[in-house]
C-alpha cells in the first residue's frame, strides 16, 4: 500500500527558522540526503527539531544507480546511517548515472534505454534495497538527448525498471513536461503507461523555457502546463504525496506555501475528499 502524506515542501536552509518558529501548515518535508551527511551543526540541529513535528522523506542525488562504476558502499553506509537517524517515511534517488570512474558530475545524466541498462540498473537497485533494508523510490529525470541505441522509450524503461526491481516511483511531473518538450512526445502517453500502484510521490517544479528546448532548472514557479499535467496525474493515480521542489532562486517561505496551496486546491478539485485521506 502506498502511504499518502498529503502536501509537502523541500526543506531548504533559508527556511529553517520559518519552519521552527511558525510551525506552518505543511504536511511533510523532503530533505536532500547529502546535505545532512555531516557530523553536526545547523543542518542537523534544525532537522532534528523539524522532524519532531513533521514527517520527513529523504531524497538523494549521488547514488548513481545507473553507473557502471561499482556501487559506492561508503555512500550507501552513510545513507543507511542517516536513514537510521532520521527515520524517514521513505528514501529516493534518481534513475540516472552521476559518477563515472569515481568522478561525480553532480548532474543527473540519462541512461540509454536498452535491455543492457535495464538489467544493470535492476540488479543494482535490488542490491541497494537489500543493503538498506527497505524499498526505495526512483525518480524520472529530465533529459535533453536521445541515444541512438535506445531499444525502448523512457516510460517503458522506467516502468520496467520499477516492476523488475520492485521499487516505487517518485514521479516528477515537471521532468515529464520538460522531456516531452525536448523529445517531442505526448506527456499523456507517459502518464497513461505507468502502474498507479507504483507511484508513491510527486515532485512539482518550474523550468526555464528557451523556445527550442526546456531546461529543468527548478528556479521558477510551477507553470500552467505543469499544473495541467498534475491534474491529469491525479485523475489517473489518485491521492499521491505531492511536494514542490525548488532548488534555486528560492522565494520566501510564505510564497512557497502559497504555491503549495495551489497544489492543494487543484488536488481538491480533482479528488474532493483528498484532504481526509492524508495519513498522519
Amino acid at each position: 500500500m502506498k502511504k499518502f502524506l498529503g502536501f509537502g515542501l523541500g526543506l531548504r536552509t533559508n527556511h529553517y527558522v520559518d519552519v521552527i518558529e511558525q510551525k506552518p501548515d505543511i504536511d511533510w518535508f523532503e530533505i536532500i540526503s547529502e546535505n545532512y551527511m555531516v557530523a553536526g551543526g545547523k543542518p542537523r540541529y534544525y532537522l532534528d527539531a523539524i522532524k519532531e513535528h513533521y514527517p520527513i522523506v529523504m531524497h538523494g542525488v549521488s547514488m548513481s544507480i545507473g553507473s557502471t562504476d561499482p556501487l559506492n558502499m561508503d555512500y550507501l553506509k552513510k545513507l543507511k546511517t542517516l536513514i537510521a537517524d532520521v527515520q524517514p517515511e521513505w528514501f529516493s534517488d534518481h534513475l540516472c548515472f552521476t559518477s563515472v570512474g569515481g568522478i561525480n558530475s553532480h548532474d543527473l545524466l540519462p541512461m540509454p534505454y536498452t535491455e543492457e541498462s535495464l538489467n544493470h540498473v535492476v540488479n543494482r537497485i535490488k542490491q541497494v534495497q537489500d543493503f538498506i533494508g527497505r524499498p526505495m523510490l526512483l525518480e524520472n529525470v529530465s533529459s535533453y538527448l536521445t541515444y541512438k541505441t535506445d531499444e525502448m522509450n523512457e516510460w517503458q524503461f522506467y516502468r520496467e525498471v520499477c516492476e523488475q526491481a520492485d521499487c516505487k516511483m517518485l514521479l516528477d511531473i515537471n521532468n515529464i513536461y520538460v522531456s516531452a518538450r525536448n523529445h517531442d512526445f505526448n506527456a499523456m502517453d507517459y502518464l497513461q503507461s505507468l502502474n498507479p500502484e507504483r507511484i508513491q510521490q510527486f515532485h512539482l517544479a518550474g523550468h526555464s523555457d528557451f523556445g527550442d528546448y526546456v531546461v529543468d532548472t527548478h528556479d521558477h514557479d510551477v507553470p500552467d502546463p505543469v499544473w495541467q499535467l498534475y491534474r491529469e496525474a491525479l485523475k489517473l493515480f489518485g491521492p499521491v504525496s505531492t511536494m514542490i521542489e525548488r532548488d534555486a532562486n528560492i522565494p520566501s517561505f510564505a510564497d512557497l506555501e502559497a504555491e503549495l496551496n495551489v497544489a492543494r486546491s487543484i488536488a481538491e478539485q480533482c479528488i474532493p475528499d483528498i484532504r481526509s485521506q492524508i495519513e498522519a
Binding site: 547529502e34 551543526g41 552513510k78 563515472v100 570512474g101 569515481g102 558530475s105 548532474d107 535533453y144 541515444y147
Partner: protein, 264 residues
C-alpha cells in the same frame, strides 16, 4: 567495454574536456536542436553548477580576485580537480593547495590563505554536535588533580595562521569595503574559529601564549606542563592566573568538550 560503459565514459570525457564522441551516440534529427547542441546543454550545466559552488563557498575569495581571475581560477581548478565527492560541500577541498601551487595565483600567497580561512569557516559550521563542558565540570576536579588536567576541545574549533593580512581583507570584503593591499606580517598571526552556543560561527585573534596553550592541550599535554611553558610570556606568579583565566574563557565560549585527568 559494454555499450553502456562506453556511453558513460564518453559522457564523462565530454563533461571534463568539452570534446569526444558523445554527440555521435545521440540522435541528431530530433526537434530544432541537433546532437551537438543537446550534449552542450549538459556541458554548460556541469560547469555552471560547480562554479556556483565555488562562488558560494568562497565568496570573499571571488570578490578579492574579481571576475576575470575568478573565471581563470575556476577553469583551472575544475580541470585539475574534478569532483570525487558525494556532496558538493567538499568540491573545493583542494582549492587552497591549488592556489598555493599554481601560477599566477601562487605568486600571491594571500589567495591560498583566504581560501584556507573560508574552508575552516565551513568546517566549523558543520562539525559534530557534542556536549560542551561547563564551569561545574571544572569545579568538580579536585585541586590535587589539577596538575594532570587535560582537555578535549569541541570539534568545531579550528586554528588558522596567516602570514598576510588575510582575515582583515576577508572582513573588509564581507563589509563591502575594498581590502588593503596584501601585506606580509612581520610575524605570523593566529586565529581561532568555532561554532558558538547559538550555532553561529565566530572567530577571534589569538595571542602567542593562548595559541601555545591550545596547541599543547591538543597534543595531550597536562596543565602543569603547560604552566611551565607559559613562563616564556608570564611571571611565575602570573602563570596560574593566566592559565585558569583561559580555561574559564574557553568554557564561556563553548570551546571545551571535556576535561580529564591523566593517570600516570
Amino acid at each position: 567495454m559494454s555499450s553502456l560503459e562506453q556511453i558513460q565514459q564518453d559522457f564523462l570525457q565530454f563533461l571534463l574536456h568539452g570534446k569526444g564522441p558523445l554527440a555521435e551516440h545521440v540522435v541528431n534529427d530530433q526537434g530544432n536542436i541537433n546532437a551537438a547542441e543537446r550534449v552542450s546543454i549538459y556541458g554548460n550545466a556541469y560547469r555552471v553548477r560547480l562554479q556556483e559552488v565555488v562562488e558560494t563557498d568562497h565568496e570573499m575569495l571571488g570578490l578579492y580576485l574579481g571576475d576575470d581571475l575568478f573565471d581563470q581560477m575556476f577553469q583551472g581548478y575544475l580541470d585539475a580537480h574534478p569532483s570525487t565527492f558525494d556532496s558538493l560541500r567538499h568540491f573545493c577541498q583542494h582549492l587552497p593547495q591549488y592556489l598555493a601551487t599554481t601560477a599566477p595565483f601562487s605568486e600571491h600567497p594571500i589567495l591560498t590563505e583566504l581560501a584556507s580561512f573560508e574552508r575552516l569557516l565551513l568546517a566549523a559550521f558543520d562539525a559534530a554536535d557534542i556536549k560542551r563542558a561547563t564551569l561545574e565540570d571544572l569545579s568538580a576536579i579536585p585541586p590535587e588533580q589539577w596538575p594532570q588536567l587535560q582537555i578535549r576541545f569541541h570539534p568545531s574549533m579550528q586554528l588558522f595562521t596567516e602570514s598576510y593580512n588575510t582575515v582583515s581583507s576577508w572582513q573588509a570584503l564581507k563589509a563591502e569595503r575594498a581590502p588593503e593591499p596584501a601585506t606580509k606580517h612581520a610575524d605570523e598571526q593566529h586565529w581561532l574559529l568555532w561554532r558558538n552556543h547559538q550555532r553561529l560561527t565566530e572567530f577571534r585573534s589569538l595571542a602567542d601564549d593562548e595559541r601555545y596553550m591550545i596547541d599543547q592541550y591538543l597534543t595531550g599535554a597536562q596543565f602543569a606542563e603547560i604552566c611551565e611553558g607559559l613562563l616564556t610570556w608570564h611571571s611565575e606568579q602570573q602563570v596560574p592566573v593566566v592559565a585558569v583565566q583561559h580555561l574559564q574563557k574557553w568554557l564561556q565560549q563553548g570551546l571545551i568538550h571535556q576535561f580529564s585527568v591523566a593517570v600516570d
